[in-house]
């Protein structure tokens, strides 16, 4: 009886997801981003590509780390020669850095704006454009209404949207598929060599629609995300 119930509930859950627009994954789509166990947090265990993700960053360091994670995800999304639009403030992002994450910087169109009002307008227009693969946007504040508009735009055009949000104060709720937070973690030594190891982040999913939250540690190793389990923070390390 209990088994039958569980099966029934699973089936119902799957139906609900399907009604909400989450297609069951076809073979070969699972785990394409290489985010490892993190992807299991999303509905059906697949990173929702055609939706808007929000990354909260409270400092320049976190913004850089979030940018790194987004670029890592973009490298997979842009593999088939797609184009990404990166909307931000004047000349914050340094284009050559994208090359290290496997994204050709000339495949990215930068739009530098000063006013949040313009940024929101451009972001919405960009999300409506089906000729794009992904849109990244740096915003100071976004309210629920705006995020709902983004989500609706994305559902038609099947673009992936990322919003890098400055979160100084209380976070208002949004209609985004997931809320991420990325923090840099100390890298580990490679084979006892001095210097920096692979880039390592602590990736937190603070909110996932129809999924579950969690915290993971990821490393960027030569073009791939590699999930790592142990977190070692040692204060007594010496330089060089």
């Amino acid at each position: 009886m209990a088994v039958a119930n569980r099966e029934l509930i699973e089936k119902l859950q799957k139906n609900i997801l399907q009604w909400e627009g989450y297609k069951p994954p076809s073979s070969g789509t699972r785990g394409v981003l290489g985010l490892g166990p993190l992807e299991s947090a999303f509905p059906n265990g697949v990173f929702p590509q055609h939706s808007v993700h929000e990354l909260v960053c409270s400092s320049s360091e976190q913004a850089a780390a979030s940018g790194g994670l987004v670029t890592g995800i973009l490298s997979t999304l842009l593999q088939k020669g797609g184009v990404c639009v990166w909307i931000g403030r004047a000349r914050r992002l340094f284009a050559p850095a994208l090359a290290a994450f496997g994204v050709a910087p000339h495949q990215v169109i930068f739009i530098s704006l000063h006013k949040d009002k313009d940024t929101l307008w451009v972001m919405e227009e960009a999300l409506k454009c089906s000729g794009l693969t992904a849109v990244v946007c740096e915003l100071r504040e976004m309210d629920f209404k705006q995020s709902r508009r983004f989500q609706l735009a994305v559902e038609n055009s099947r673009v992936t949207g990322f919003v890098l949000r400055n979160a100084k104060d209380k976070l208002s709720s949004t209609a985004c598929a997931a809320r991420w937070q990325v923090k840099s973690l100390p890298s580990t030594e490679m084979n006892g060599l001095p210097g920096l190891g692979f880039l390592r982040w602590q990736v937190d999913l603070l909110k996932v629609r129809n999924g579950h939250t969690g915290s993971w540690t990821l490393e960027w190793q030569d073009g791939y995300f590699v999930p790592t389990e142990e977190i070692t923070i040692s204060e007594e390390r010496q330089v060089g």
Binding site: G68, T71, I111
Partner: protein, 498 residues
């Protein structure tokens, strides 16, 4: 289609123009005068002066004898052409082809234009009344040929509209001067007793040629329409132009939108047939107060999609100031580009820099926030970080060199920010640094990567860059400007790594 021409004659062009600028001269007898062979000779006389007996080509001194209060103003050469040009530009709302007819007239090619004003009579009345209201004593005539229109405007007493094909009857009763002839031919005709053109038309052309040369024959043929006469348009015609006159002046945004849509539909249909796309289009709105406002759009890729171009123009509508109303819309595709029409559908699925919807998106963004906000970077052959990228000239320009493989920060500060550091050993990465009052203890560091100044561009210290990671795991790009023992070594924070 039978061509129709309209000649406008300004009887007192220069004096009317001056009186318009200086209203106190209105109704005063005044003349424009210029020195000719040590005499001051009248070059133009106002209507009041002519009534009192001061005529063109009289010496001013003689005229003063007849009209003591005569005012003589220095004539500025070239004024007539300037005035006619201005009036001609104002007439473009009536027809796209307006030609100057120096020294005192305009010639309009009005073929296919008059029905918009309800017929030739109303068209002529509208123009003449408008010119008279502006203070110009204008007379106009409409005929099949410029020659006949010219003659009738200047010499006929009534019936300014000559029916199609009736040129011979219309000019038969006019004096030979109506044929635009040289003075010596006119003298000869005068001596021979030709008071009217009529008898000339009955004489065999061979005899006329023997006595008067080919000039007279040409003028007769031009007037009768046997020889075509070409007009040199004041404003060169843009090949892809559409005009939309409105029945009533338009002042509202929806009205302007409808006008733009109609124009674009007409324009895009023509462009599509020729396989062209708009790169640059201008909308000119002629207002009823005689002024013209215009807005323009540019596209990154040729386009003949009505919906896309309409959306671009919609972003510009608030820049149009309709004032009392707009009576004519003109849409010009001032730059066009050949398009690959056939391939469009086939490649619609491919996402890439060549994608049409991407080009359309960028056009909209450029229209809203300005084209300068959109940037695409290519690697430049410089190691100096600030110069290592350059802006791409076009959307499809590909990099000539590879992107740098050395670690570069995700975020680069526009200006390196000064930091205080503590290093254990000279030429080693710092042990800790203080940025904006916050202490960062450095756990790991890579470097240095020395980047020298480009001496042919600027002078100064080289930079030794270190990638450092603090105890919290945040990674920074810091550099020391100059050698450690130089005494003026200074540390800076230049970027944040992911």
């Amino acid at each position: 289609m039978q061509k129709r021409f309209m000649a406008i004659w300004f009887r007192h062009l220069l004096t009317d123009g001056l009186a318009r600028r200086r209203p106190e001269l209105k109704d005063l007898p005044f003349v424009l005068a210029a020195p000719v062979k040590n005499r001051i000779v009248i070059t133009a006389a106002s209507a009041a002066a002519e009534r009192e007996g001061a005529f063109v080509n009289m010496a001013v001194a003689d005229a003063r004898a007849a009209v003591p209060e005569l005012l003589a103003i220095d004539d500025v050469p070239g004024q007539a052409a300037k005035l006619l040009r201005l009036i001609g530009l104002g007439c473009i709302r009536y027809t796209p082809i307006v030609a100057l007819n120096l020294p005192d007239g305009l010639m309009l090619d009005i073929s296919g234009c008059t029905h918009l004003w309800g017929g030739e009579r109303e068209y002529l009345k509208e123009i003449v009344l408008k010119l008279r209201a502006a203070g110009f004593d204008a007379r106009a005539a409409i005929a099949d040929t410029p020659g006949t229109a010219w003659a009738v405007a200047r010499f006929a007493q009534k019936r300014p509209i000559i029916a199609s094909g009736a040129q011979a009857i219309a000019i038969a009763g006019l004096p030979p001067a109506a044929l635009r002839l040289e003075p010596d031919i006119l003298d000869k005709l005068q001596k021979l007793g030709f008071r009217n053109i009529g008898p000339l038309l009955d004489i065999a052309p061979q005899s006329l040629r023997r006595r008067f040369g080919t000039g007279l024959l040409l003028r007769i043929d031009q007037a009768l329409g046997r020889v075509e006469e070409y007009l040199e348009a004041l404003v060169p015609l843009v090949p892809y132009t559409e005009r939309l006159p409105s029945l009533e002046p338009i002042r509202t945004v929806p009205g302007i939108e409808i006008a733009i849509e109609k124009l674009l539909e007409m324009l895009c249909l023509r462009l599509q047939a020729d396989g062209l796309g708009v790169r640059k289009a201008v909308l000119k709105c002629h207002r009823i107060d005689g002024r013209k406002v215009q807005v323009g759009i540019t596209t990154t890729k040729g386009s003949h999609s009505v919906s896309h171009l309409l959306r671009l123009f919609k972003l510009q509508i608030d820049k149009i100031e309709p004032a009392l109303g707009i009576e004519l819309f003109v849409m010009e595709a001032s730059r066009t580009e050949e398009m690959d029409v056939v391939q469009e559908q086939l490649w619609a699925e491919s996402k890439g820099l060549g994608d049409t919807s991407l080009a359309e998106l960028l056009d909209r963004i450029a229209g809203k926030v300005g084209a300068a906000a959109i940037q695409r970077f290519l690697p430049a052959e410089h190691h100096w970080p600030e110069r290592s990228i350059k802006l791409a000239g076009s959307l499809t320009e590909q990099p000539q060199t590879a992107w740098p493989e050395l670690p570069r920060p995700m975020r680069l500060l526009n200006e390196p920010e000064s930091i205080e550091v503590m290093a254990l050993v000279p030429d080693h990465p710092p042990k800790l640094f203080v940025h904006k009052g916050k202490r960062h203890t450095i756990a790991k560091a890579d470097g240095p990567e020395r980047i020298g100044r480009e001496w042919w561009q600027d002078s100064g210290q080289h930079r030794d860059y270190y990638v450092v990671e603090d105890s919290e795991g945040c990674r920074y790009w810091v550099f020391r400007s100059g050698h450690y023992d130089g005494g003026d070594a200074q540390w800076y924070l230049h970027g944040y790594f992911a």
